[in-house]
């Protein structure tokens, strides 16, 4: 639950409690008002009724007094008139007492309090007594009226005392009822005050409950917001002290959770920055050290440069001297190059002769190849002849064997023929061996001829290659002659250039003087640079100390 939702829920709860309390108070006020209205209305009505009864009783007394007076004076008209008035008055009194009795009975049934109910009951009884007393009074007066009609003055006066007594009893009863009403009014005021006290007490209690609930809601909301905030405060305090190695709890989806995650991201970014910062500072320190070393090396090299400039000045003097020698040598070279051009013309004619000789050699080698091919064909023919001779020797061998067989068949007479046959066999064997030798030798000859053919072809190819090389040599010598001519021109340009070079070297000498002055300035600048690098090293070491403050 987010913080805004929590705060809104707290406000809603407080508002609901106040609303309920207000409604309850209104209801209680209405209740009190209703009770007061009821009590006041009933009491006023009862008071009015009792006044009307009293008024009716008073008129009844006046009418009866007038009646008695008229009787005594003998005024009959006055008697009739007073009788009629008295009847109307007593009817009204009886009717008012009965109405009030019914009203009191009704009030008793639905009274506000029990006390008032009892009072209303008492009033009912008192009114009932009053009604009875009034009825007794009426009976007495009717008796007096009868006496009046009879002109019995004694009877009229005799009954007068009962009438007065009964009337007094009636009045006393009505007065008791009025007393009872006064008590009931008092009790009604007490009941109203009780209702008011009860309402006030319940409203005050409700107020306390609402205050307690509001305090609880406030405390809960505060705790749920302030505790994570305290954790974040401590975390931010650690970050401020340079401890970037911790993270805070970032739970939940509310604003505090998002705040925690954002803080963690922020610390991650700070950690990355601090790491890079530290690495960069270390690099800066190393670089500053290197710069310091470089400036010192530079100072040394500037010194060397000064010495080198001195040596260069000496060398330039030597170059000036050697430039003159170069001019002399170049003129000598020009003369020699012209001689070389003449020699190369002789070389050209000699190379032409060589090319012609190569052509002759090639023709002769081709003739030799042709002859060797003819020889190869001849040796083929010799091979055929040798095959024939071999065949002949084979046949001679068989013939000698057959001759030996015939000699053996001839017996003793054939012995000399057997010797001739053996010699023939010997000859045939020798011929066979000779043929074998000749064939072997002929094989060697053919192999020799084949290799000769190949060698001759190789010779022809080499002669052609030699011809090509001779032509290339011819072209090269022509090129050489042209180059020599160009070289002569080049050397003439060299002589001219050397003269210009002498002028340039004088300018170089002046420039070297300037360089020496510049080198001295550079040396002083390098010392300043060295000082600056030293200061920079101090700064970078201080910076490294600062970055060490962060714990990662």
């Amino acid at each position: 639950m987010s913080v805004s939702t929590r705060i809104a829920a707290g406000f809603a709860a407080l508002t609901a409690i106040l609303l309920a309390l207000g409604v309850y108070a209104l209801v209680q006020i209405g209740d009190v008002r209703t009770t007061v209205d009821l009590i006041v209305e009933r009491d006023l009505a009862s008071m009015e009724a009792l006044n009307r009864i009293d008024h009716a009783l008073s008129r009844k007394v006046e009418q009866r007094s007038a009646l008695v007076q008229s009787f005594l004076t003998g005024n009959n008209a006055g008697v009739r008139e007073a009788t009629t008035g008295w009847r109307a008055a007593i009817d009204e009194a009886q009717r008012g007492i009965a109405e009030q009795e019914r009203a009191a009975e009704a009030y008793r049934a639905n009274s506000v309090t029990g006390t008032r109910s009892e009072l209303w009951a008492r009033m009912v009884r008192q009114l009932a007594d009053a009604e009875r007393a009034l009825a007794q009074t009426r009976a007495d007066v009717e008796t007096q009226l009868a006496a009046v009609n009879n002109n019995d003055r004694a009877a009229v006066l005799a009954i007068e005392a009962d009438i007065v007594r009964d009337h007094a009893g009636t009045v006393a009863r009505v007065s008791q009822a009025r007393e009872t009403l006064n008590v009931a009014i008092e009790k009604g005021r007490d009941a109203t005050r009780d209702v008011y006290n009860a309402s006030r007490l319940s409203i005050i209690l409700g107020l306390f409950v609402a205050i307690a609930i509001a305090i609880g809601v406030a405390v809960t909301t505060r705790r749920s917001i302030v505790r994570p905030l305290d954790s974040f405060m401590g975390f931010v305090g650690r970050i401020g002290e340079g401890d970037l190695s911790t993270t805070t709890d970032a739970t939940g989806n509310d604003e505090l959770g998002r705040l925690g995650r954002t803080l963690n991201d922020m610390v991650g970014g700070l950690r990355t920055i601090a790491t890079q910062n530290r690495a960069a500072t270390n690099d800066l320190n190393a670089a500053t050290t290197e710069i310091r070393a470089s400036t010192q090396e530079q100072a040394a090299s500037v010194e060397e440069q000064l010495a080198a400039v001195q040596e260069t000045a000496a060398t330039v003097d030597e170059i000036t001297h050697s430039g003159a020698q170069i001019t002399r040598r170049a003129q000598e070279v020009i003369a020699q190059a012209q001689a070389t051009a003449q020699v190369s013309d002789a070389g050209l004619s000699a190379v032409g002769d060589t090319a012609r000789a190569m052509d002759a050699i090639r023709e002769q080698a081709e003739a030799v190849a042709t002859n060797i091919v003819a020889l190869s064909e001849k040796t083929q023919a010799i091979g055929d002849i040798i095959a024939t001779v071999n065949d002949v020797s084979e046949r001679s061998h068989l013939l000698a064997l057959n001759a030996s067989i015939e000699a053996a068949a001839a017996g003793e007479q054939g012995r000399s023929f057997a010797i001739v046959a053996s010699e023939m066999k010997l000859l045939a064997d020798q011929a066979k061996g000779a043929t074998r030798n000749v064939r072997s030798i002929l094989g060697d000859i053919q192999r020799g001829i084949n290799s000769s053919v190949m060698l001759t072809e190789e010779a022809v190819k080499r002669v052609a290659s030699g011809k090509e090389r001779t032509d290339a040599g011819h072209a090269a010598i022509e090129e050489l002659a042209a180059r020599v001519q160009e070289n002569v021109q080049t050397f003439q340009q060299i002589v001219a250039s050397t003269n210009q070079q002498q002028i340039g070297i004088e300018q170089v000498t002046i420039a070297l003087q300037n360089i020496r002055e510049a080198s001295q300035q550079t040396a002083s600048s390098t010392r300043q640079l060295d000082q600056a690098a030293s200061d920079l090293g101090e700064l970078s070491r201080a910076l490294v100390g600062l970055t060490e403050r962060y714990r990662l």
Binding site: E394, R395, H397, L398, L399, L401, N402, S404, I405, A408, A409, R415, S416, A418, I419, V420, S422, E423, K425, L427
Partner: protein, 169 residues
Amino acid sequence: MSAPPIVADGLDADAIAAILLARQRALSRPPADERAQETLLAFDLGGVTHGLPIDCVRSVAPLPKVTRLPHAPPALLGLVAWRGTVVNLFALAQVLDRDSSGPAAMIVLRHDTPRIALAVDTLAGVVTVPQDDTPPTLTRLVAEGDARLTRVDPALLIETLLPSRLQEG
């Protein structure tokens, strides 16, 4: 073939006389051994030198074209034409159970009904060996000086070659 003039060209009269004298001496020399001598026709068969008594040989010749016969026995190579007659040609290597490298010549025996020729690898020459009187076998090893050769008995060979039916016919 006419008389070879090549041999006669390089010889003068003295050389011819010397040759004739040597022949005369060789003819007049008595036999070295007292025992009876036998002349054999030597030939090669599968790298082994064999000998056949020259008495039973009619002639030798290069191997002509051979006409093969259907249903012939394995030893009979076929028929050849020789001096206008038909001759039976036998493979002597098959008979003697040798490894022949290919016959190139043939030996015609003195036997008329039927005529018999033997196919051999090469013909070597004529040798003279002492004769002994051991009982005849088909092949026998004989020695003449340093050389040794296998003598083939012709009569037993012909018996081996020709069944009785063929000998009668």
